[in-house]
Amino acid sequence: MSENQEKLSPNRRRVLQLMAVAGASAAYLNNYPNSGAKAQTRQKGYGQDVDVNNPVVTWDKTLNNNQLLNLTVIGDLIIPTDDKSPSASHLNITDFVDEWVSAPYPEQEKDREAIVSGLDRLNIQANRQDARFFHNLNADQQAAIFDTLAKSVEAGSASADDDFFFERLVYIYVGGFYTTDEGMADIGYVGNVPMESFDGPPEEVRKLLGV
C-alpha cells in the first residue's frame, strides 16, 4: 500500500499547490475580461476525449465588471464568513460562477440567461435608491433587497424568473464553494485518501444509528 501512496501523492501535492495559487490571486477582479455583451459569443466546449490529467477550461469568461461586482456582493450574502469557514469571495467563487455561466452547454446557457437578467432586475431596484448598480448600494441596502427576494422565493410569491434566478445562484455558489478544500472541510468530507482496509463506520456513528 505504501507504494500506492507514493504513486498518488504527487497528485495530491499538485492539488494543494493549485489551491495555494488560487488563494493567492486575490486581485482577481482586475483580471476579468469585460465583454459588456449580454449575448454569448459562440464558444468551444472541451469535447468528448479530454486529457483528464490536464483539465482545461476551453471557453472565455464573459461576465462584465459590474456583473461580477454584483455577484461578489451576492455571493457573500449567500455564503458569508463564519467561525468555521470563509465567505464565497474569499475563495473566488464568483470566478467559478463566471466560468459556469460562460460555458457553451445548454444547462449553463440557461443559467447565464437567468443570472444576467436577474442581476439586471437587481440593478433596477438599485436605481430606485439612486444607485446605478446593485453593488453601489451600501451593505444594509444590499442585504435588505436580497432578503426580500429570498423571502418571496421562500413564500412562493416570487416571479418564476426570480425563483429560478435565486435557486440557480444558490446552487452554483454552493457547488463552487463546498467543492473547495475549505468547503469540504466545513461539511466534513474526509475521504479521497488511500486506505489499507475499509472497516466500516466508527463506534459513535453506529451508536447514533443503533446498528
Binding site: 466546449g45 459556469w100 461539511i187 468530507y189 488511500p194 444509528l209
Partner: protein, 575 residues
C-alpha cells in the same frame, strides 16, 4: 499480416476483450478491431483529482455525460454519429476506446440464476434460453477467476441468486453506516442482505493491486483493482504474441463469400484517414456493443441476405431491453450533524438485497411480473459522506429548500451532509416486441453508414414492476426511520416518462437473441449465427431475457463459451 488472422473480433469491451483473451490463450491468432483509441487506465485514468480541478467542478455535460473525469469517451450524443427514434424514448450510450465500457461500468457482476434462463417455463411469457444454469456455471467460475471479485459467503445465497464459490471470491469490505441501517430495515421486512458481488479486488490478483477504498471506479482504475477489459484481458492477450489490434477502426459490414453462408471478413472505416478497408479471417466475432451488433448485421445486406445478414428469422434488432432503475432520496435524522468519517469505500454498494419473492410467496404478494429487482443504497445519488459533487450531493441537499441563504444555508449544509442518501432498485424488464431497432433509411453518420432507428415501449408488466419497486422503496425508507426527500418514480411519472428513458441504465442488451430454433432467434446457444456458420456475436446482443442482475458477467461467460466453441472447431477441422 491480415491473412494470418484466424479470428477477427470487433470490439474490445467485456465481450470482445474476453473473446480475444480466451482465443489467444489457446494459441489462436486474433485481430481485434476497436472503433476508438488506445486507452489504458494505468496512465489515462484521473483518480484522485477533485471536482475543483475540472471545468464546471467536473459536472456532467453533453460532452462528458457522467462528468469530466469519467473514463468514458463517448456517451449518449456523439457529434456526427446520430441515431433516430421511430417511437418512444431511447438513449444510446457508447464508449469509443480500447476496453470499451468496462472502464466506466459499476463493476457489479451478479450471476444469473437458474430460473432466469427459463422465464417461459416459469411464467409462460417470453422464451427460454437455449442453455441452462448448469451449462453456464463453469464459465461463471472461469470468468470470475480471471476478473477477480469480492462477494458474500455463497452458503448464505438466496434462491435464484447464486454466488461465487469460496475458492474464487474475495472477502467483501465492511458495510457503510447507511448500509448497516439498510440491512437492519431489510431484516425487519424479511429480506436478506449480503455483500454485492463486485469485480473489485480486496486482495492482490495476477499482478493487480487491492482496492485502496477511495475514488470512483467510473474514472477507471490505474492500479488494476477494479476489473477492466484492458487490464484483465487485452494486456495478457497481447503478451501471448497472438493478438493484433487496430484502433480507430469502425466496422460496418460483415463480408461473405458468394454463397452468403460464410463470413470472410470485415469492412471498416479507418477514422484517421476516412478510408474504407477490409480484413479477412476464418471466423468473425461481433462484440461492438449490443445495438451496434444488430446495426452491423442489418447493414450487411446483400443479394443473398436482402434483410440483413444472419436475419432469415427477421429477429435481428428485435427484443432489445434495458434494466429498470428507480430511486428515492431519503433523510436519516439520526445522522444530522453526524461525526465526519470516511465512507468512500469501493465507490460501489458494499451490500445489497437480492430479489426475495419466488413461487407461492410471489403469487401471494401479487407481484405480477417476470423476474424481480434488487435493492441497494446508492453510493452516488444524494448526500451521505460521499465525495462532494454539485448535482448528486448538493442538488439533493438544496432540493425544495426555497429561499435558503446566509448563515442558515451554512448550517443546513453541515446538518444534512451525511444524513441524506439515495436508496435504489434495479429491476428486470419484460422483454417485448415493441422494443427494437431498424436502420434509418435516410440518416447516415459522418462516414456515410446508415444509423439505427430505435423504437421503445415499456410494457404493462414493467409498469406493475415499477409500482412494486417504488412501494418497496417507501417501505424500506420507513423501516430505516427516514423521510422521503425525492421520489424518482413519481417525478418520472409526472414528467410523462416511465421510470427512466430506455437505455439510461446503460444495460441495453438483446437485438440478436439466441434460441433453440433458427425461426425465433438469430443465434444458437454458442452465440453462433444460425445462418452464417463462422459468424458469432459476443456482446450483450444474444440475451434472451432481462432480469435484475447486471448483464456484464453473463456477457463475458457467454463470450467465453463461444470462444471455446471456436477453438474446438479450429482444432477439429484443423482449419
Amino acid at each position: 499480416m491480415a491473412d494470418e488472422n484466424e479470428v477477427i473480433v470487433v470490439g474490445s469491451g467485456a465481450g470482445g476483450g474476453m473473446m480475444a483473451h480466451t482465443l489467444t490463450d489457446a494459441g489462436v491468432n486474433v485481430l481485434l478491431l476497436e472503433a476508438g483509441r488506445r486507452y489504458d487506465a494505468e496512465t489515462d485514468a484521473a483518480m484522485f483529482q477533485l471536482p475543483m480541478e475540472a471545468p464546471l467542478r467536473g459536472e456532467g455535460t453533453p460532452d462528458k455525460n457522467d462528468g469530466y473525469f469519467d473514463a468514458n469517451i463517448g456517451g449518449y450524443e456523439m457529434p456526427g454519429q446520430p441515431y433516430t427514434l421511430s417511437g418512444g424514448k431511447f438513449r444510446w450510450w457508447r464508449s469509443r476506446q480500447l476496453g470499451g465500457r468496462t472502464h466506466h461500468f459499476g463493476r457489479q457482476v451478479p450471476r444469473y440464476g437458474p430460473e432466469d434462463f427459463k422465464v417461459h417455463t416459469m411464467t409462460g411469457r417470453e422464451i427460454d434460453w437455449p442453455f441452462s444454469y448448469d451449462d453456464i456455471e463453469p464459465y461463471y467460475d472461469r470468468v470470475e477467476t480471471i476478473i477477480g471479485l469480492f462477494g458474500p459467503d455463497p452458503d448464505k445465497a438466496v434462491y435464484n441468486s447464486p454466488q461465487s464459490p469460496n475458492h474464487i471470491r474475495q472477502e467483501p469490505p465492511a458495510p457503510r453506516a447507511s448500509e448497516m441501517l439498510f440491512a437492519k430495515a431489510c431484516e425487519k421486512m424479511g429480506i436478506k442482505t449480503m455483500a454485492h458481488p463486485t469485480a473489485i479486488l480486496t486482495s492482490p490478483l495476477n499482478g493487480r493491486e487491492a482496492c485502496f477504498y477511495a475514488t470512483n471506479c467510473i474514472r477507471g482504475c490505474s492500479i488494476g483493482a477494479a476489473f477492466d477489459s484492458v487490464t484483465a484481458y487485452i494486456k495478457p492477450a497481447e503478451e501471448t504474441g497472438k493478438l493484433s489490434i487496430i484502433t480507430g477502426a469502425v466496422a460496418y459490414k460483415v463480408l461473405t463469400d458468394d454463397s452468403g453462408k460464410r463470413a470472410t471478413g470485415i469492412r471498416y472505416i479507418d477514422t484517421e484517414t476516412g478510408e474504407h478497408r477490409e480484413v479477412f479471417a476464418k471466423f468473425v466475432v461481433l462484440a461492438p456493443g449490443s445495438m451496434e451488433s444488430a446495426r452491423i448485421l442489418l447493414n450487411s445486406k446483400s443479394e443473398k441476405a436482402p434483410d440483413g445478414l444472419a436475419n432469415s428469422s427477421g429477429m435481428v434488432g428485435k427484443y432489445i431491453s434495458d434494466t429498470m432503475f428507480t430511486s428515492l432520496w431519503i433523510h436519516i435524522p439520526q445522522l444530522d450533524y453526524a461525526p465526519p468519517h470516511n465512507e468512500d469505500g469501493v465507490s460501489q454498494p458494499h451490500i445489497y438485497a437480492p430479489w426475495w419473492l419466488h413461487g407461492e410467496e410471489k403469487e401471494k404478494d401479487g407481484a405480477d411480473f417476470s423476474g424481480g429487482y434488487k435493492l441497494e443504497v446508492d453510493p452516488y445519488r444524494g448526500g451521505r459522506f460521499g465525495p462532494p459533487s454539485m448535482k448528486a450531493t448538493f442538488g439533493i441537499m438544496l432540493h425544495g429548500r426555497k429561499g435558503l441563504y446566509g448563515d442558515k444555508l451554512k448550517d443546513h449544509m453541515r446538518r444534512y451532509y451525511g444524513s441524506l442518501l439515495g436508496i435504489r432498485t434495479l429491476g428486470g424488464m419484460s422483454v417485448n416486441e415493441n422494443c427494437y431497432l431498424t436502420i434509418d433509411p435516410d440518416v447516415k453518420d459522418k462516414w456515410g453508414i446508415p444509423v439505427p432507428k430505435f423504437h421503445w415501449q415499456w410494457s404493462d408488466e414493467d409498469y406493475r414492476r415499477g409500482v412494486h419497486m417504488n412501494k418497496t422503496l417507501h417501505e424500506l425508507a420507513k423501516n430505516m426511520g427516514a423521510t422521503v426527500v425525492r421520489d424518482a418514480f413519481d417525478e418520472s411519472r409526472k414528467a410523462g416518462k416511465f421510470v427512466e428513458t430506455g437505455g439510461e441504465t446503460n444495460h441495453e442488451i438483446g437485438g440478436c437473441r439466441m434460441g433453440t430454433s433458427p425461426k425465433n432467434s438469430v443465434l444458437n446457444q454458442y452465440s453462433q449465427t444460425w445462418d452464417v456458420d463462422n459468424l458469432y456475436v459476443a456482446d450483450g446482443a444474444p440475451f434472451v431475457t432481462h432480469v435484475e442482475k447486471n448483464p456484464t458477467l453473463t456477457i463475458m461467460a457467454m463470450s467465453m463459451r463461444a470462444a471455446d466453441n471456436i477453438i474446438e472447431r479450429l482444432k477439429e477441422n484443423n482449419l
